[in-house]
């Protein structure tokens, strides 16, 4: 059980993130047509992307720096600082509890404010975990990426890989038509469209003096 704890922590933090950026519909009847990003497991997509994003050489080896866990820690620390300053009374006990899921305990609006604060570097950067500690550039870059990853994960076909979604990229297969494509009216892979309305201009070659 213990060994899965960090993974649960990471996943639940990104579940809260996905839910914040693309929430489930308030009307339950629409859940099937426009689910929230966490209903489509987009947090798993975010974790995969973060853990495969930065392959560099360290003293001992060449490999990926898994970023998902430190990013989750960073978001929670930013949430803690945000709440501590902006949402008093925030109890001493809450503030000192380690590994607390601060981010998910905030309202949706406060979570977005937390992300905005993080991106504006509006917190004590020393308190963040490696590799983010005092690393303004990486904080900005990754905080921004969280938005793009959530939106791309949700609106691309990723979710339709269904039970194969976490396989290596070449071992994934589409199991159904992506709900988000259905919702926006994108027909998916196409062979062509009969929407040719003529040419406004043609290039005239070798006529000189164009």
């Amino acid at each position: 059980m213990r060994s899965t704890a960090p993974q649960d922590y990471t996943l639940s933090t990104f579940r809260a993130l996905a839910n914040t950026l693309i929430p489930p519909p308030t009307n339950q009847d629409e859940l099937e047509s426009t689910p929230g990003a966490s209903d489509m497991c987009i947090y798993e997509y975010i974790v995969y992307a973060l853990d495969h994003y930065i392959p560099i050489q360290t003293y001992v080896y060449q490999g990926n720096i898994p970023l998902a866990l430190p990013t989750a820690l960073m978001i929670n620390e930013a949430a803690r600082q945000y709440a501590y300053t902006n949402r008093p009374p925030f109890s001493y006990q809450q503030a000192t509890q380690s590994n607390h899921h601060f981010f998910s305990s905030l309202s949706r609006q406060d979570r977005i404010q937390t992300l905005a604060h993080l991106e504006d570097l509006n917190l004590d950067l020393y308190t963040l975990p490696t590799p983010f500690q005092n690393n303004a550039g990486l904080i900005k870059h990754v905080t921004d990426a969280l938005n793009r990853l959530t939106l791309f994960g949700y609106y691309s076909e990723w979710s339709s890989y269904g039970s194969t979604r976490l396989n290596p990229p070449d071992e994934r297969y589409q199991e159904f038509f992506p709900l988000s494509w259905y919702h926006v009216g994108y027909p998916g892979v196409s062979l062509g469209y009969r929407d040719f309305r003529g040419f406004l201009l043609r290039i005239r070659r070798n006529e000189g003096g164009r």
Partner: protein, 563 residues
């Protein structure tokens, strides 16, 4: 693969493939080394899973059916920056992409592989504005015209056909007082179809007697809208509709029987010697096989760097070539923004006779407004994931819903995002592209602390000038007007972060790092043939045709001087 060719070309993207073909046609033996995979070559049936062969030099290896299987046209499979087939990373997609340190909100969108970043480019191939070249570059616009013509004929380039997107754009541009500009050499403001490196639609496209499946195996664009995903439609590989260099120039290079391409070969060092008069000269390269990790060296009489605006300066710096304060400096990036209009069904019925625009139909970018001195505006119709990420998920203005009125734009999240994306089929997006200034502070340098298997990684920095900001605001105003005049009921601006790296240029500038024939001032026999040699941002015009014309010219210069 003949040992020690006349010329080694590093990189087979927008510029590298062109110079390889030109040199091969002249009769020189050429090796092209590219860091990424090769799609559509039967020697690499599973290029993302197995190393496959070492190299290919035979046009018979090209296989259009295989290309069609590999280029799945799904945006996640093709364009995902971390795992996509088109990404800056090794062929093996189980591994991560290659890291660049970009300490900002940033998307750096380049590809490794035969075809390079043209694998997913939109094929817009306009000439630069004459005013942006004349009296600025060490060469004149007029000198380049024959090379523009040659590239336009080879790719080939044709004005984009009109589909719904373009029709709405022309309608709005006309009503906002702009006129049609029927020219390839643009000195005045006006709108026109994009000159695109895409074959015209097949003459039977509108004929229901031909199925779309049949048409997709015939010559000509089917308006499928997959430019960004690679577009594998056509009767054979070299006749695919979208003319990335792997489709246009690479087959022609192979036909010369003088050119060998080796994918999965990452060049880590340019080798030099001192000649008797004490000058540096290039003698070859060292490269690393991205599957096996083995390094090899190969010698040649000439080395051409065409690794793109980031990797060419990185390679120079990692090779310890002579110090030049302009290496990696002066990066321009066309400081871009997007404006999206949403239309009512009635308005669209009036303009188009149908209630939707369907931005995913037709050329991804098929129409433009040229504004010499400021930049340009073009239509943009991407698939939903790319659309959402770029229009609603990437902004320098935080979150739209939480901003005060002083900041335009911002990311859109929550229910409003779903609503906006729900209108996707009735939207038209315009991309504003600025003629940005060359500034010394904008740069590619080595990160002193971070290395990967190819040496110190690049650190990229770009911040537009105040002048650039004013120009961008002006273009955004015009784009907004065009959409409003077309009848958009609402218009939304993203206020993109400046570090959207799509049109990188001018990091190894002509007149500073290379001379007017694109040979390095400080290293003889070392040439550059990619976007990095541009003197400036070429007027804010899509840069690739300029690079391809220069590469064609550089091939002649090399032969004149050394062969």
């Amino acid at each position: 693969m003949s040992r020690n060719p006349d010329v080694i070309v590093i990189g087979s993207g927008g510029g590298g493939a062109v110079i390889a073909k030109e040199l091969g046609e002249i009769g020189l033996s050429v090796w092209v080394l590219d860091a990424g995979p090769w799609y559509g070559n039967c020697k690499w049936p599973n290029p993302n899973q197995h190393r496959g062969a070492e190299s290919s030099d035979d046009p018979k290896d090209l296989d259009g059916n295989l290309y069609r299987e590999q280029i799945t046209r799904r945006e996640g499979d093709m364009n995902d920056i971390v795992t996509g087939k088109f990404r800056w990373g090794p062929a093996d997609r189980r591994r991560g992409p290659w890291f660049r340190n970009i300490p900002d909100q940033a998307i750096l969108w380049q590809n490794a592989g035969i075809g390079g970043t043209t694998l997913h480019y939109y094929s817009n191939s306009p000439r630069p504005y004459p005013h942006s070249i004349n009296h600025q570059w060490p060469i004149t616009y007029e000198e380049l015209i024959p090379y523009f013509e040659k590239v336009e004929e080879t790719l080939p380039v044709e004005f984009a056909p009109t589909t719904s997107k373009e029709a709405v754009f022309y309608y709005g541009a006309e009503r906002s007082g702009f006129s049609l500009n029927d020219s390839l050499d643009v000195s005045t403001v006006g709108y026109r179809p994009q000159p695109n490196a895409i074959l015209p639609p097949n003459e039977h496209l509108m004929d229901p007697n031909y199925s779309l499946e049949e048409l997709s195996h015939m010559e000509g664009c089917t308006l499928a809208g997959h430019c960004g995903q690679g577009c594998p439609y056509g009767p054979s590989l070299e006749k695919m509709a979208k003319r990335s260099t792997n489709i246009s120039y690479v087959p022609l290079a192979l036909k010369t029987k003088k050119v060998t391409f080796r994918p999965n070969a990452f060049v880590t060092k340019v080798l030099t010697e001192m000649n008797p008069s004490g000058e540096h000269q290039a003698v070859g390269v060292q490269f690393r096989d991205t599957w096996t990790g083995e390094t090899e060296e190969v010698n040649a009489k000439i080395v051409v760097m065409a690794a793109g605006c980031i990797e060419t300066p990185r390679l120079w710096l990692n090779s310890d070539l002579p110090n030049n304060p302009w290496v990696g400096r002066g990066l321009t990036n066309h400081y871009m923004d997007t404006v999206t209009g949403t239309f009512d069904e009635d308005t669209l019925m009036n303009i188009l006779g149908q209630p939707e625009i369907n931005p995913f139909v037709g050329h991804t970018s098929g129409a433009r407004l040229d504004y010499p001195g400021v930049g340009m505006i073009e239509t943009l119709g991407e698939s939903p994931g790319l659309t959402a990420q770029q229009l609603f998920g990437f902004s320098q203005a935080g979150y739209y819903q939480y901003n005060d009125a002083s900041k335009p734009g911002g990311r859109v999240v929550g229910e409003p995002l779903k609503e906006d994306m729900g209108d996707y089929r009735r939207t038209l997006t315009l991309l504003a592209i600025t003629e940005d200034d060359v500034q010394y502070r904008n740069r590619v340098q080595l990160d002193p602390h971070i290395k990967d298997e190819h040496g110190h990684v690049p650190l990229v920095h770009y911040k537009p000038s105040h002048q650039d900001e004013k120009k961008r605001d002006y273009l955004v105003e015009i784009a907004t007007n065009i959409l409003k005049h077309a009848g958009a009921k609402s218009v939304y601006r993203s206020n993109l972060a400046p570090n959207l790296y799509i049109h990188l240029e001018s990091t190894m500038r002509m007149g500073f790092v290379v001379d007017s024939s694109c040979e390095a001032y400080q290293v003889n026999r070392l040439y550059i043939a990619d976007n990095s040699v541009h003197y400036n941002s070429a007027g804010g015009v899509n840069p690739t045709l300029t690079t391809q014309a220069l590469a064609t010219r550089t091939a002649e210069k090399i032969v004149e001087k050394y062969f």
